[in-house]
Subunit: 204 residues, 2 copies
Amino acid sequence: MFDKKPRTSVPVNDLIARRWSGRAYDSTRPVPEKHIIALLEAARWAPSCFGDQPWRYIICNKHKNQAAWDQAFSCLSEGNQSWAKDAPVLILSVADSIMSKTGKPNRWGQHDTGAATMSLCIQATELGLMVHQMGGFNADTSRKLFSVPEQYMPMAMITVGYQLPLEKIDGEVREREITERARNPLGMNFFEGTWGNPYRENQD
Amino acid sequence: MFDKKPRTSVPVNDLIARRWSGRAYDSTRPVPEKHIIALLEAARWAPSCFGDQPWRYIICNKHKNQAAWDQAFSCLSEGNQSWAKDAPVLILSVADSIMSKTGKPNRWGQHDTGAATMSLCIQATELGLMVHQMGGFNADTSRKLFSVPEQYMPMAMITVGYQLPLEKIDGEVREREITERARNPLGMNFFEGTWGNPYRENQD
C-alpha cells in the first residue's frame, strides 16, 4: 500500500495512521478466507453498551458467493459502483435498534456498530487490506434483498480487498487516490472542559 | 496491564485483542498531556460518512480542570461512580445529528462517533492506558452541564487512565476484573450471503 499517513501533532499508532478509505482495488486478488475471519473476529471483540453486541454483518465474497455479491453491488449508488466493482468482498453492516437483553430500544446500537466496523478496519490495515465504508447505497433495497428484519438498520456497505499498486492507477482515479487526507483542526471537534472550548495541541 | 486477550479462531492484532473495558483504575497516575493528544488524534483520523466528522468530545482532566471532571462525574450512575472515581480523565462523546455540509439529518452521526471512539480506545491500549465507555450516565444532565446544543446527542461518558496493577486489586473488584471476556459465537452476529446464515469459522 502506498503511504497515506496524515500529519499529527504527536505520533499515533501506525495502523490508525495508515488506515484509509481508498477506492482503487485490485480486482485480481481475492481475500484469503482466514483474513476475512480475522476481520470478523476484530469486529466481534469490540466493546458495546452492556455487552449487547448490536452489530450484524452480511459478508458477500465474490469468490465464494457471486449471487450475494451481485445483490450487494446492486444496492450501491452509481458513483460507488464505478469503483466498488473491483472490490472482491462487500459487507453490509447492520445495527440492532433493540437491546437483546431487555427488549427495549438500544440507543447505542448504531454507535456500537460503528465501533465494531472501526475495529474491522484496523485489522484490515494490519493484513494489508483496504476497507471503504459507503453510506451511498439504498438501505431499503438492501433490507429487501438480504431479508434484514425491521428491528435492524442497514448502516454501511463496506468494500474489502487489496489496493491496486500506485503504478497501475491512471488519470483522474490516480489524482483522487493520492490527494492528501484532511480533517478539521483538532480544536473544532475536541473541547476542553466545556462545549466549544477548543482543545489546544500544546498544553504543556 | 494484565492480560485479558480473548481466544480467537485466527490471530487478531494485539491492540485489538488487548483492548478491554476494565474498571480498576490507578488514581495516583495522571495521564500525560501528550498521551491525551494522541488519543484525540486517533479519533480525529477515523473515517466518517462524506468526511463529515460528526463526533465531538469534551475532555475533563482531573489534574487540569477539577471542576469539569466533577461535572462529568456527577452525570454518572451510582454504579459507575463507584469505580470511575479513580479515573483521572473523563471524556463525554457527542454525536452530531446534522450533516454539516448539507444541513440535513446525518443518519451516520452516532455510528461514526462510535468509530472515532474505537480508534481512541486502540490508541489508548498502545499507550498502556485503559478506556471504558459508559452508557450509564444522565444524558440530559450532561447536556445541561456542558452546554451541548440540541442538535448533538451525548453518547458515552468515557474513563481514561492507567489500570491498577492486579496485586493491588482486592475482593469482589478483583473477581470482576479477572473474569474471562465473552462474546457471542461468531455465527450469531456474522452472516454469509444473507441474513441469519451463520458465518462458519472453518470455510477452507
